[in-house]
């Protein structure tokens, strides 16, 4: 599932990930993170705001991106990954989120290779939920794992 050394080239597409946002997952995230902002969990409150309904925590959706990167780069991502994310539109219960991305630069640095990726997180209407740039450092002489 993780990328092999020969796949670490510019324009290599990363394996797509799809996740369905549910109110149940949002409630679980509120419990585990301690973020009980009513905009995430209180339908009645959220309906009266400009967002007109509950929305997922941005960090929950960012969790999908981290899983997406882990699927391609394994522990290399977990021990040396970085991301710059911009939240564009909120993810809502019922949304089907698709994470896609590709390698846009490969930089050799002695025994390591730095891989830069563009990652896109879109809802079922092709709206950008998050736009993200990621960087991960891998060993220059072995597959990701």
């Amino acid at each position: 599932m993780t990328l092999k050394l020969e796949e670490l080239t510019v324009d290599t597409k990363l394996q797509e990930l799809k996740r369905q946002v549910t109110q149940e997952h949002i409630n679980l995230y509120a419990t585990v993170s301690g973020d009980f902002n009513p905009i995430h969990i209180d339908q009645e409150f959220a309906r009266k705001t400009p967002l007109r309904g509950t929305v997922a925590h941005g960090m929950l959706v960012l969790g999908y991106i981290s899983e997406f990167m882990t699927n391609s780069f394994g522990q290399n991502w977990l021990r040396g990954g970085s991301l710059n994310a911009r939240f564009k539109v909120p993810a809502r219960p019922g949304d089907l989120i698709t994470i896609s991305g590709k390698i846009n630069a490969v930089q050799k640095e002695n025994e390591f290779i730095s891989i830069l990726c563009d990652v896109f997180c879109q809802n079922q209407q092709n709206e950008s939920v998050i736009i993200c740039e990621t960087k991960v450092k891998v060993n220059a002489d072995e597959d990701c794992r």
Partner: protein, 144 residues
């Protein structure tokens, strides 16, 4: 989770360099499983290698920071930068340090950026990041 109590600070009282009281928390197997369920992550890499998803550490560090922070209703989380520096193990104890790194107030645009650094029980840097919020002008003006 071990809590360090601190009075909430409001946006108007914060200036660049303001440091939140460091907070401590622990990520055990149960908490990690709850996090993975919430984000619907079924990758076995964490359980197989007894390591913690770094986003779980980031989530808890931000939650700890949020306990000490009162932003106007309508504040929007607009950007998030994170760097994973080391793998963390299940059961590790973490200390999170947060401080205000930027406060922009230009006409109707108010933006607050908070830096977070997380260390494990051996004082090894595990994660760092920056969180930015845009604040609703009306709400900040009302309080002035």
């Amino acid at each position: 989770m071990v809590k360090t109590t601190q009075q909430k600070i409001v946006y108007e009282q914060m200036s660049v360099g303001y440091e939140f009281v460091p907070s401590n928390f622990r990520l055990d197997a149960e908490k990690m499983k709850a996090f993975l369920n919430a984000v619907d992550d079924n990758n076995r890499i964490y359980e197989d290698n007894k390591i913690v998803p770094p986003m779980a550490i980031a989530a808890l560090a931000m939650a700890e920071m949020a306990l000490s922070l009162s932003l106007p209703l309508g504040a929007i989380h607009v950007t998030q930068n994170l760097e994973f520096l080391q793998v963390a193990r299940i059961g590790d104890q973490f200390t999170s340090h947060a401080s205000v790194s930027r406060k922009l107030e230009r006409d109707k645009f108010h933006m607050l950026t908070i830096s977070i650094n997380v260390q494990n029980q051996h004082h090894v840097n595990i994660l760092s990041g920056e969180t930015s919020f845009i604040l609703p002008l009306a709400a900040t003006e009302e309080k002035q």
